[in-house]
Amino acid sequence: MNLDKLEALIFDAKSDYFSIANAFEKFTDSDRKSISQAIQSLHRQIFKNKPLKSASDLVTTSLNNRVGAAVIFWHHSYNRKASLCMYAVAPFSAIKATDVPYRGDHFDAFKRIIETRKPAWLSEWVEWQCTMEDPWIDFPLVWGWYKSGLIPEPKYDSYYTLFANALMATDFYTKSVGKPIRQALEAEPHWITYIPTLFRVESNAFNTNPWLWKGADKDHEMWPEALVKLVHEGIVKRDNLLALTLDGLSQDLKQNQLSGFHKLHTSLSPTLLEQKKLSDQYLDLMDHKVGHVAKFALKHIQFLSKSGELNDSAFISRARDAFIHAAKGNSKLIISIIASINRRRKKVDDDAIMALISALKSEHADTQSVALDILSSANLSSAQKEGIVTERNFLPPSLISKLDNIVGTGYVRANDQSTIKTESIDLNSLGDEALRTRGLDRFQSDPTEIYTTVSSDWRDRSKLEFIEKVEPIEDVSTLIDTIAKAVELTRKPETVYLIVDGISRLNGYGTPDFEAKTSALVKRLKTLSTDWDEAAAHQGIAQTRDSLRRALLSLLMVWLRPSERVILPKEVSTSLPYHTPFIRVLEALTKSVRKSKCTPLLSTPSHINGWLDPKIWVERINLYSANGWEIERNDLLTSLPRLSPGNRQEAYKSLQESALRPLISFVLGQSDKFEAKGDLELWMTAARSSKPGFDWRKSSMDINDDSAIVGGLSPIDYNWSASIEERSYSNYDQTFRVNLFDLNRVQHPHLNENGSSKTAKKFFNKVRNLKSPKVNAVELPYASFHCLKKTKTWYGLDEGVAWKNAWDFTLCPTDQVGVNLNAALCLANTIDEDATRLTHKYSLFEHLFTGDHPWIDSTHLMISLGLSRKEADGRGMAVDVTIHGIEMGFLDPGILASQLIGLSKEPWLKLNRLSQSLQTVSQSSPLHAYVISVVLQSWLSEVNLKTRNIFMIFEILLNAQSVIKQPLNHEFRQILKTIKGSSKAAKLAKSLLEFNEDDADIRKTIRAQAISNRL
């Protein structure tokens, strides 16, 4: 048999796999060696479907004729036959890269080849195969080769895994041995010696997944039942099996396998004598890192203890280490065993005291509390008391007094903020305005005041002196670098404005090597413009899939390569209505860049969070007037909602000649004359910018009542509700509880949507479909912000863009209600979502740290929803913003409580999550504990106290009260008194009622802290 004949066999459609096996039947080792290289080359050509130039005509023609799917499938007959040839002649290094025949004739031919060749590498190959994550070979094959002397008996773990899985397998998935386990072991007694390995290696032998039974016969056995029967039949020794199960539990194996071990152990029902023999092993397992294994061991230890057969000292010695990481149930079990030992001893011995002191390091307050209870009954030496004191920092505040009672002295918590000196804070040195804006005026007038919120007047909060400036890009090289970086990663929303502004100002200015500096960037932008997946994988400016992305990319491409015409694909998702004005600005700028007739943008923010200093705005208008440039209307329209309340008067004074003087005068508050003759939409936007919360319909101006669109001349009005609805679906018998969050824009009752006046018709034609994303909102930016479109979580990829979530808040800094509500709706709709790359909701809170807006109802609603989120990033940021809000006095406890009341009218909130968040806030300082206590008392007064997990909220309140040592308010005390029973909430309510402290020193500390934070 030479290579030509082999090629003929491989490419002959009529030849079967056995013909390949037959071809090598009489090959000697030297024959195989001589043809090996040629076969390897042929194998490579076939698998790549690329004939070599030197290949025979048959190979070339056959491979060239093989087209379509046949080329890529490894199981095509050419490929399979080539693989068989490899097994017949190739060395081990080449065999490792060869597919293993699977089933049927192909596999049988492979076996015949191996059995004829008897390769020296077979044992090594089997071991290599076995150690693969999903081996292609099975136990019957390996066993068969061992029995026939082809390989020595394997001794590695993966072989025993194959054995365990094969004996229990049904034929549904893998090749099994084909008999119930006991019969198989009877037929092959040598396998009984393999049984100990079941408890040492990873296998399915003790798993209970239903798929393991799929296709099983009636008499099918799984390992646990087979082993129990083998014990009964005396084939396996009971003592050995009991010990093996415990040995297995100390192995690093998967939890479900460990669970199988202790289930088998339990099913053998060890006697007291047997358990006594195994007591050392139980003790070794009691601090096992897997909770259910430790629980199993502790149950046996408890049984031994009750039977008086436990080595108490050995147990207590191990208990000291076990407490540290034990789960709550297990640590309580350990304490109950210690308690029973104490009862037996009729005292608390030194070793038990040491163990109980270790229990104070437990992370579970219940365990710590019970340990303290037992310690309080012990006769403690001074050294032991000292030992207890050193564990003080591990205790929650609510248990500190218990500890202090045991040790007999009070200790001041070292980490409280009591070092702040109230005397050093002289409020009189601050002016009235500074006191008012910081919310310190009440502190000045009332020396007992602890916490007040800062001024809620937006004019006070939005002062530019509190807000960071945005530094514009000064040269083309920096602009290129900024774009290149932003394309890959955009963190701050201001970056987008800086780039757009840079292009508007620097277009026409050159830089040496512009082409060389931008060629990589242009290539990258071209890729991102067409490759959605690549764009989505980056948190850059091209990550969105909407019109904004298209507009941005168009602008960048036109600026970088004005002469190139790049066709951008259509957007995947619809832009939010309130993005439209900015998109129009980008489109206008793109046209200007193309024509090389750019003017600096009027609307670029001068400060972060989208604020524009009116003085800078007027300077820009003056520049336009001086140069005779025409102001782009959308640019002007977009600039109006950004104007800061500060510097308006000074700005107006610096205004030079301008055709826009009446509008500028009106928006800057220098005139009340509403002259909506020319451009009504512009004037309405100016009206909202001038007085964002004012209802212009109430003014004495001659304004048609019909034009009072919500967000037009009147401010937004809305309501929301959180409810639970039971729903049933036709395909299912069950009913489902669905959390609903409804947000409704309130229509003005007097307003007829089909209003008769011309003005009303004009507006309603544009905004009556506010709920539809198709609304053309460009004419009324404020109204578009109030478009309460439901968030598109199912395909809302854009919501996964962190910078864009934050950027939304920069579009209309003068009125955040609409964007807050959109954020709240988005948070509510995704409240139970896990974190993914697509839910960067944390960025919805980032702007709140600046404090440039009063925290209104909708802000507190956002925060309440954030604190209850499932995904950790958003929840963590909500916690941070709450902590910051309390420090700076932004957070209003009354408003936060009212939002929580609204959200918990039905059990809509997950209290476990909310409690974790509030606990973190409360632990930050005594000030935080105080504010959280106020919030919780108001909230709990209005909530159903039988709500599931409400005790978690009581725990936070108890801890907060333990820190601040202030009395509960009278109304709340009355409510607490109504809670009866022995539930955890009832016990905590009782503990709360026992609190009667009123610590003046801590009040001073809290007050001092509240003041010093704001200075």
Partner: protein, 450 residues
């Protein structure tokens, strides 16, 4: 599959602990092997704090056996360096994103060191189980290497563990040194406060974006907001590994590099410490960071490096000033040369002392250097003549380096090199230089030499 080299750990016996006798007396023996399959004998003594040492060794073993984002168990053994002052055991997680080191000073033992050197040590499952049973007050003998082994007969068989030693695991050893040299102490807290904080780290549903550890008074808190002095962590589960060490510890020192987001967590005991350093992101192992590429690419100072190498004698601290005086050069030059030696696996960095220490990794580091993909590609670019000098003005030299279909503009500057490629735009040099910058630097060096 990740690139790797076939490697065999060959131990004379299995590391293990003899069963306790009635007086709770036992012996812990660590088996050793080095690159040449020799089995050095380093140490014999008695543990002063068996449970603490046991906890440190188990934690190190846990880390070495863990892959923090794939269910792929690693079977690699830690590396031990011995001298008269200290036993150091080092290793990386399977994903190479976590570096762990247990420092056991001479005071932790009653006994003397018998040798200096670096070796692999056998960590196996039975030994781990035995370590868990150690208690304070136990009388435990400890030996590293073979002298008179007191283990049972079953443990005395020669152990051979054939592994595919991932190249990234070895590369990480050199990268980790470069990171440690830039760490600054950010916080120091008591073990109790540290434990309370570590327990608050989520077990499931962890943040996917960076979190920051902030200090409020003496307590620590996890925040999602970047603030001054906050320590960035991504992958809180990696830090949670130290939880089991804290109940017996005294303090926790937290180190960080604000520039690149690496943090290190040093658990300090009465005697000894455990050092854990995590990479900036869960999916970024130290191996791929490229902090050492600049050092590896350069041939400058090769004479000085050879001189320093001659001074290395497994010191636990390399005194830069002393070496500088001896070699008649500046401390700065010595620091730079030691960084190069660190990149080549010949020195480690001890953050606490701010000094390098000598250890020679028991792997063939020449293979590692040859397989740094970025460096290899940069050399290819230079060899193929695809790097052209465009201009040199003031302190900026501009090169044109061929990319795919386009040419990248590389600026070599004194205050930081710059490239127009995507890699540079994304990381801004925080993950080491891109291949274009490396190529330009190589070319620049060639031109200077010529």
């Amino acid at each position: 599959m990740a690139a790797g080299i076939d490697y065999t750990y060959k131990y004379d016996f299995s590391s293990g602990l003899t069963p306790f006798n009635d007086q709770r007396r036992a012996s812990l023996s660590l088996a050793t092997c080095n690159l040449n399959h020799k089995n050095p004998y380093f140490f014999e003594g008695k543990m002063r704090h068996p449970r603490v040492i046991g906890d440190m060794l188990i934690t190190l073993s846990d880390i070495v056996r863990t892959h923090y984002f794939l269910p792929t168990p690693a079977i690699l053994d830690p590396v031990l360096t011995s001298n008269e002052d200290l036993l150091r055991l080092e290793g990386f997680s399977g994903c190479c994103g976590v570096y762990a080191r247990a420092d056991l000073p001479a005071e932790a033992f009653e006994g003397n060191s018998h040798g200096r050197g670096t070796t692999n040590v056998d960590f196996n499952t039975p030994m781990r189980r035995a370590l868990m049973r150690l208690r304070e007050g136990d009388d435990v003998n400890f030996s590293v290497g073979k002298n008179e082994v007191v283990l049972s007969k079953d443990d005395l068989k020669i152990v051979e563990k054939k592994v595919k030693l991932p190249l990234r695991w070895i590369k990480s050893f050199s990268e980790a040194q470069a990171y440690q040299a830039n760490l600054e102490l950010a916080m120091e807290v008591s073990a109790a406060d540290a434990l309370r904080f570590i327990r608050t780290l989520p077990k499931t549903n962890r943040p996917k974006t960076p979190s920051y550890v902030v200090s409020t008074g003496r307590a620590l808190r996890l925040s999602q907001r970047k603030t001054n002095g906050a320590v960035k962590i991504l992958g809180t589960q990696r830090v949670k590994t130290i939880e089991k060490l804290l109940p017996r510890a005294e303090t926790l020192n937290i180190w960080h590099d604000q520039n690149n987001g690496t943090s290190a967590w040093e658990v300090c005991f009465e005697v000894g410490s455990f050092f854990l350093m995590i990479s900036p992101e869960v999916y970024r192992g130290f191996s791929g960071e490229g902090q050492t590429l600049s050092q590896l690419s350069t041939t400058r100072n090769s004479g000085l490096i050879s001189q320093i190498r001659a001074e290395l004698k497994w010191q636990s601290m390399l005194n830069v000033e002393e070496i500088a005086t001896k070699l008649n050069t500046s401390a700065e030059n010595i620091e730079r040369a030691l960084a190069v030696l660190g990149a080549r696996g010949l020195a480690g960095f001890d953050v606490k002392n701010g000094q390098y220490f000598h250890r020679e990794l028991p792997f063939d580091m020449s293979k590692v250097e040859a397989m740094q993909p970025r460096l290899r590609n940069a050399r290819k670019l230079v060899d193929s003549g695809l790097v052209k000098k465009n201009a040199s003005l003031n302190d900026v030299t501009v090169y044109s380096v061929a990319g795919t279909d386009i040419s990248h503009r590389v600026e070599l500057r004194h205050h930081g090199d710059h490239c127009t490629c995507q890699w540079f735009s994304r990381y801004q040099g925080k993950r080491g230089p891109c291949k274009h910058i490396l190529a330009a630097n190589l070319m620049d060096e060639l031109e200077r030499v010529s």
